[in-house]
Symmetry: C2
Subunit: 352 residues, 2 copies
């Protein structure tokens, strides 16, 4: 098979972790007779520096034409503490989500027994935790109208949701909950006791639930969810939520595994899908060959699954599990005995 | 001294936990020669049942005239899964916050060494964690315009903040960070890389920081904060944030102590202050004499501090610490050896 992949290296550690995934994809290609063709494009702070635009049109065009997007990370501290900055790296990320209509961000939360000592949670809380968060990604307060008056004394952000926006991701999440490997439970996280948008979410999900009678549905307020994720993460199977709540609780949940560096995500929608590690651009580590490439590599594995190359994806995941089990890890996992980003990439490449 | 206290028992376990606090306040009054006068008023599901209104005017009037409000909890499951309910218990809570202009909710997060085995976090993460969250309580998306179109296909909630709303709570938080017992660090939690309101928060806090040169300020995105609270809670001293983020992260943080039942809060503003445990109405436990009264009792202690009865407050806190250290605890703390709500209240009353 031939697949065209737009590669967006981005900022900070984005380039060096993504490079490992490319090596591994090439090895997979050689072995299974696939041809992966890469088109490198800009987004984020680097795109601002080079073109003035956090998401140049050329990047969008490439993405729209390609079979998938492999993305590293974006963000640079020089923009974070400047509330007056007009152009920001994050605008690129928000715009690409909108342009590709990536309405569902899917984040599997898994724990590795070899790494349980790294988790801030006690082992007995973690054992058996395995859930997937479906975060709505193109609506809500992220994309609603933003205002600031001329005197800069009153600001506002509008959170808006329409029925179709809720329906399409809800169907995806219910279908996912029905998969043989899932436990057929869906938890909607909202704040229906306060927000009108949450009440619409709850209503739509209640209606749609009738079409999936084998899936047990429950409803949880976001403040309670933020506790339950730590108190009893095993109770979750598929979690569905809106954009902002998903941002917060999926990052919170990612802590369970012991290292952010390990976790992948996919964002899917009506067009090309995008695959990215959940970690940020981690600028302090950039160029030092210390970043954990596993989040990116497992994102590439999710991309292989998306291409229906399931055997290939499984091979990559097995290779990752093998390195973790044998102590071939980066500094975030073991401060004493560790290997560089590129060595880990090389080992996984050799394994597949 | 004489103090008029409006008591709002509310729903679920609200009445039985608040009753313990009253017993203890009376004992304190006897011992120190204070007269606490109570005016019982309605709010929540019980107020809807009895008057059709989740916050009757009589309750507001009593609160406005009194020196402080001692509140239990509200909420009833019959309202939670009905997205069409017109009247909800929570409306009472939101309205009382607005009516009394309770713009700052203050939640100390402390851990008890006697209870560390209950925390989902590993001991080494918890040791030394001690911070206070300042949550804005009368603005933001909770109180912005809510809309739903006639066809019920599009809903929206507006998040709005003005400079004065941010300034008043920011000053409180900075002053708190300056207290001798604090570590002079303030962390603003926002989402300034996406939200206009967050950028206004960041800007105003940056300006105000100049007036408190001895306080070190840092800025953290809410998604990162939701991780940091679990990964490294010790890094926080005073946390300042807007309403919705505060709801989520303060509940998340409350998990650290091992039991929600222990944690108090105060809400202060331009008028009468309000004191309440952070737990909810926990209807499954209502009337069973199993609820933990400590959250309410420590809220009463915060009220004593607010009355500048610091010796009295310390006595109550010492009494609580004594019961915890000696295994006089409710079922949430020890499933095997435990005591009833009223026994714990009695023991603390006898101690003071
Ligand atoms: C960088 C930021 C805009 C982004 C978000 O909040 O969506 C990030 O936190 C994420 O979760 O992908
Ligand atoms: C009951 C609800 C409206 C309330 C809130 O979200 O403010 C509660 O969760 C709290 O934190 O006091």
């Amino acid at each position: 098979m031939e697949k065209n992949i737009t590669v967006i290296l981005g900022d900070g550690i984005g380039p060096e972790v993504t490079e490992q995934s490319i090596k591994i994809l090439n090895a997979i290609g050689d072995q299974f007779g696939h041809k992966f063709k890469y088109d490198y494009q800009l987004m984020g702070a680097i795109a601002i520096d080079e073109t003035g635009n956090p998401l140049p049109d050329a990047t969008i065009e490439s993405c729209l034409k390609s079979d998938a997007v492999l993305f590293g990370a974006i963000g640079h501290p020089k923009y974070d503490n400047d509330p007056n900055a007009k152009v920001r790296p994050e605008q690129g990320l928000l715009k690409i989500r909108k342009s590709l209509q990536l309405f569902a961000n899917i984040r599997p939360i898994t724990t590795y027994s070899a790494l349980q000592h790294l988790s801030p949670l006690k082992q007995e809380r973690l054992d058996g935790a395995d859930f997937v968060i479906f975060r709505e990604l193109t609506g809500g307060i992220y994309f609603g109208e933003k205002k600031i008056n001329e005197e800069k004394t009153v600001a506002s952000d509008l959170c808006e949701y329409s029925r179709p926006e809720i329906e399409r991701i809800a169907h995806l999440a219910f279908q996912y909950a029905q998969k043989p490997e899932r436990r057929k439970k869906l938890t909607l996280v909202d704040k229906a006791n306060v927000l009108e948008t949450s009440r619409l979410w709850r209503k739509v999900v209640q209606e749609i639930a009738a079409q999936y009678p084998d899936v047990k549905v429950d409803y949880m307020f976001v403040d309670n969810a933020s506790m339950q994720i730590i108190i009893n993460p095993k109770q979750f199977d598929v979690v569905l939520t809106e954009n902002m709540f998903g941002d917060i609780i999926s990052d919170e949940a990612s802590v369970l595994s012991g290292s952010l560096g390990l976790l992948p995500s996919s964002s899917v929608g009506t067009g090309t899908a995008l695959f990215e590690p959940i970690h940020g651009s981690y600028p302090q580590a950039a160029g030092k060959d210390i970043a954990n490439p596993i989040g990116s590599i497992l994102s590439a594995a999710m991309m292989l699954d998306y291409f229906e190359m399931n055997e290939e994806a499984t091979l990559v995941r097995n290779a990752v599990a093998w390195t973790l089990a044998h102590g071939f890890v980066t500094q975030d996992i073991d401060a004493e005995n560790n290997y560089g980003t590129s060595v880990i990439g090389e080992l996984i490449k050799d394994f597949v």
